[in-house]
């Protein structure tokens, strides 16, 4: 995994957390099912997950499409890169704890339930391209006002706005660090939009976020 981290003295820790259902489009898609079993009501705390180290690859590297899986979901997302040990942050000063931002592609095998999904949908080797580099915090005027575009083989497949986050960046940082400390170099992906574009082996995915560059990866068929 090669991701240039151009804000010394920081380096990525290899720890990647993500928030789910934090984009309005993802949340609205659930509709009435939120109040029905097995959920029985909206979540109170941020819904979090992890992308383990084996999933991490850089810009330009190949994402393996598992044998027997036709399509994968592209989870285009803003990633926050923590710069200082962050515990119990206040919204007003939360951004000061960031080193910067990068693009995260939370790749998943399509799956339905949010109740207790198997990690084999999200934790496979190569399922989390990140990059192309960490852009310093000071270079982004407002992380809650960024346009995200997903192109597959050059064709625009998704546009999303970080202004549609249910927990905006500062609030998300405050709520997450209420019970877990984020360490320098940790990444927190702030939430993907829905519906996620689908990609097949042989295609190229390019994710653009204003000011953060382009994260490009090709998808290849894995052996049986």
């Amino acid at each position: 995994m090669r991701v240039a981290m151009d804000v010394p003295p920081y380096q990525l820790s290899g720890v990647v957390y993500g928030a789910l259902l934090n984009h309005q489009t993802a949340w609205l898609r659930l509709g009435d099912s939120v109040d029905q079993p097995p959920y029985n009501g909206a979540p109170r705390a941020p819904v979090l997950y992890m992308k383990p180290r084996n999933t991490l690859i850089g810009c330009g590297e190949a994402v393996p499409v598992p044998y027997g899986t036709a399509e994968l979901e592209v989870g285009a997302c803003l990633g926050l890169v923590v710069g200082r040990s962050a515990c119990r942050l206040r919204e007003e000063s939360a951004l000061e704890y960031l080193a910067g931002y990068l693009i995260v592609n939370d790749v998943s095998i399509p799956h339905q339930p949010y109740y207790r999904p198997s990690i084999r949908f999200k934790a496979r080797d190569g399922f989390c391209p990140i990059g192309p580099r960490v852009v310093p915090r000071t270079a982004v005027a407002d992380p809650d006002d960024l346009n995200i575009r997903v192109l597959i083989d050059g064709e625009l497949k998704q546009q999303a706005l970080t202004s549609q986050l249910l927990r905006p960046v500062r609030r998300l940082l405050a709520d997450v660090t209420e019970f877990m400390t984020l360490a320098p170099g940790d990444i927190l992906a702030v939430g993907v939009a829905a519906p996620a574009p689908l990609v097949r082996a042989g295609q190229r995915v390019c994710i653009e976020i204003e000011g953060l560059g382009r994260l490009e990866n090709h998808f290849v068929q894995a052996a049986a």
């Binding site: 720890v15 819904v47 084996n54 999933t55 877990m180 984020l182």
Partner: protein
């Protein structure tokens, strides 16, 4: 061999168990110095990479929670901020009603494992330690269970005291586990009771993700978890791995 990571005299050291001349339990640093075991700060014995945990991996415990048969092991991931060493303290937030320990066998991967069969699985293990993986059930929500506020709390996954070499534990599938709260036995089980045993877990996980040296698998807890209160001393014991101590403390220590 048993190896700990301890902090003392301004540095972090590898340490082995050593009885002191006065009979007390102590540690021997690689540089030859010895210290009483309460004179050092115990760190988690490995600098863990990916931390993989199992839910409901003991048949009796699954029954306790009224869970039916599983298609595949129930796996979740944890971040490194959850880890805590032997003799550390874990916070019980004010107002919670049910916080419980979970004594678990922790498996430390020693070499890269990808598509490993169960017969070859144990060759990829560096060693074992004890884990006490606390949960606060008040915070349980039905989204991506077990949700992070229950299971990914700072300092709520105690690991140690030692990393015990795999060669010293020929059969991880037959180890007695016990938990004592303030000296009273509250949980008892045997790793025989695992639904997916250690070789099966390595086979399953490595079928879709590459396991690397330093990855840790927490293999689940048997029945018998009970609530713990501020001031309680919790000791988790696994045959051949030692005894892992932890104390429950309140918010005030954390300025809350």
């Amino acid at each position: 061999m048993k190896t700990a990571r301890v902090a003392c005299t301004g540095a972090i050291h590898a340490a082995q168990p050593q009885q002191l001349p006065d009979g007390r339990a102590g540690v021997l640093l690689t540089d030859g110095r010895t210290f009483a075991e309460d004179a050092v700060v115990w760190l988690p014995p490995v600098e863990a990479r990916t931390i993989i945990a199992l839910g409901l991996n003991y048949a009796e415990r699954a029954k306790e929670l009224a869970f039916s048969a599983q298609d595949e092991p129930l796996v979740f991931l944890k971040g490194p901020g959850t880890l805590l060493g032997h003799r550390g303290v874990t916070r019980r937030p004010a107002g919670v009603k049910f916080m419980h320990y979970e004594c678990e066998l922790a498996v430390v991967i020693g070499q890269t494992a990808r598509g490993v069969t169960r017969t070859a699985a144990l060759e990829h293990v560096a060693g074992y330690c004890i884990a006490n993986d606390y949960a606060i059930r008040d915070y349980l929500e039905n989204w991506y269970r077990p949700n992070f506020r229950v299971k990914n709390r700072d300092g709520a996954t105690v690991l140690g005291p030692w990393l015990v070499d795999a060669s010293d534990i020929p059969d991880p599938g037959n180890l007695e586990l016990r938990t004592y709260v303030n000296g009273k036995l509250t949980q008892q089980g045997n790793t025989r009771g695992m639904i997916a045993d250690v070789p099966r877990l390595i086979e399953y996980l490595s079928s879709f993700m590459t396991l690397s040296a330093g990855d840790v698998i927490l293999t689940g807890t048997p029945e018998g978890v009970t609530n713990v209160e501020i001031g309680d001393e919790v000791a988790c014991e696994i045959a051949g791995l030692g005894r892992l101590y932890n104390t429950i403390v309140g918010d005030s220590l954390y300025g809350r």
